[in-house]
Symmetry: C2
Subunit: 338 residues, 2 copies
DNA sequence: TTGAAAGCGTTACCAG
DNA sequence: CTGGTAACGCTTTCAA
């Protein structure tokens, strides 16, 4: 910028103004500057600009696992929403590890991001209190930490449990098991929905019918298969299973078929997430659609509104209603020929 | 930092040195500073530091689509490799749109990244020449632009075509079609491998047997189905199909089954990429494994080596050898009971 | 072992 | 419409 100013015999300030489309610049000067800028193929340094304006146009996103289509989808739609306004996304993955997550958040904090969006792997709010203390706009997605009273965008998890379980009940399942998720808001919310559905229809959850992965990790598929094998050993064995998410459901189906049983004939299976490949699976998977792209998009809009309002607005909670998607894994009647 | 210095009656320089673990600081001072830092929960501003050191510890990644598991996997392993050395990844998606890609690259350039990793959606090297002119370390992945002589990490695409096609030949296919990919290095490389395999075994590619999507976009699955429907209308119709990637293969299988034919009985299908859900599909998909995580990891290591060497080293090309993975979609003999 | 001064590339503020 | 000056938060260099 200094060079351009010198070359043209104008001040640095003038160049700066031209580059920001500032009003008070004569057409002549503007053109001269722009020409030279093009010639040199020059782009102003955003970091330097950020230093003085206090805005980095950088938003952090922390998710447990990018390979999980759910989070990839969220990242994609979030990125798109923010990009329109010039914000870039720094994406880090926590691998479902609370300690690693805290580490990465600290890393991001050092970059003086404009905002942070997190699907957190921790249930411990301390890191986040720190973020809030720093006045950094924070949006939680998918997994809420109620004590925090932070901005949150996610699905109605109780509704997921309710929808899935009632669907199983409707197709005639009597002994419905639940492969539950981790001890966070989606995990407990979906479990609660399951319990409410059972209670409503006067069904009982037999001992051992709510099964929980030993450790929460990225390998949902495997833990789904493991848990399902345990369920199969029970007497009586379940005739319907609601799984915390689709990868677990895929693992569960695997275990059922391996045991020589049929899906949905012997055991109906439903998951949650409605991943893009659900319909192409060995047994197309019934699922609860969480409108994943809407989550990303709404989170993006919420973040932008935080970024643009100068005051600290009250925390917002956006709950998205899930929808049942029925496929072969819970179709007890013959499928019509499509 | 200024505050800390004032509070403690030392200079800003001293604080700065402590924070960078500089040698010449007495234990006493160091401790005093660190204590105060902890008290205030202070983290040095990386952007400001970057301004003077010229390093942002930011690496850009541009991929066509994060929802495609291939790129999600690459992003994940790349991110992991870079994170170890303190580099963060800014991820942007080009949606297979060359213009958008150029836009995003410009955006990234303004941030003065330390390096750029790209799976490019363009075949036009001009944007990249600009990057190279700026002296910004550039690593191409998955898709090469040979004229550019840039650093490149990718799979041996000819070998992919060869492996896949020869496998189809081995299981007895006589009329092998190819749903080809875009006009970039993987697209043409895999086509070439297909052609070499046919020539080697004295087979011919009948008219219309190499089929190309109208437009290259993110919806590989749909275009795979479309192209396959066209192939089915040919006489004679193929008895084996090698698809550019797995989503296309999934679409192709869809079309075949919808037409009332069997896979692999009537038509064997093989894709490429070996996505994590291939084994769970309606018809488990034979594929060519591209060692996706290795690509990301090697790209990461290459990037780091560029970042750490002060000279501009010669461009490196890292070619990873693909491997055949056989599943039901090309199993002509009865499957053993697993 | 410590610190003063200069500067990284940019913008805010205000005077001309 | 134009530009000088100070400042953003940090590091580098070199002298004390």
């Amino acid at each position: 910028m200094k060079d351009i100013a010198r070359d043209l015999g104008v001040s640095v300030v003038t160049v700066s103004k031209v580059l920001r489309n500032h009003e008070d610049i004569s057409e002549a000067t503007r053109k001269r500057v722009l020409d030279r800028v093009k010639e040199l193929d020059y782009t102003p340094n955003l970091a330097a600009r950020g230093l003085v304006t206090g805005k980095t146009y950088l938003v952090g996103l922390v998710v447990p696992d990018l390979l999980h289509s759910f989070f990839a989808q969220v990242a994609k739609s979030l990125s798109r929403a923010l990009l329109k306004k010039g914000y870039c996304l720094i994406i880090l993955t926590s691998e479902e590890d609370a300690e690693l997550e805290a580490h990465e958040i600290n890393r991001l904090l050092a970059r003086r991001l404009d905002a942070l969006v997190i699907a957190s792997s921790t249930t411990n709010p301390t890191v986040f209190e720190r973020i809030q203390r720093q006045g950094l706009p924070l949006v939680l997605i998918d997994r809420n930490l109620p004590e925090l009273h932070a901005n949150y965008v996610g699905t109605d998890d109780e509704a997921i449990g309710l929808l899935a379980t009632e669907h199983l009940i409707e197709i005639g399942c009597k002994r419905i098991a639940h492969l539950r998720g981790p001890e966070n808001s989606p995990g407990t919310g979906r479990l609660k929905g399951y319990q409410i559905a059972l209670a409503k229809h006067k069904l009982k959850s037999l001992p051992g019918y709510v099964s929980k992965p030993r450790s929460v990790d990225v390998q949902s598929r495997e833990s789904g298969a493991d848990l399902m094998r345990q369920l199969l050993a029970l007497n009586p064995r379940p005739d319907g299973v609601f799984c915390y998410n689709d990868p677990m459901a895929i693992g569960a189906i695997h275990a059922i078929l391996d045991a020589g049983l049929r899906v949905p004939g012997d055991i109906a299976v439903i998951g949650s997430g409605n991943l893009h490949y659900d319909s192409e699976l060995r047994i197309p998977l019934s699922s609860i659609d969480q409108q994943t792209d809407i989550i990303g998009e709404r989170a993006g809009r919420l973040t932008l509104s935080l970024l643009e309002s100068k005051t600290h607005p009250r925390s917002k909670t956006i709950i998205i209603q899930p929808q049942l998607v029925v496929r072969a894994s819970t179709e007890r009647t013959r499928r019509p020929n499509r």
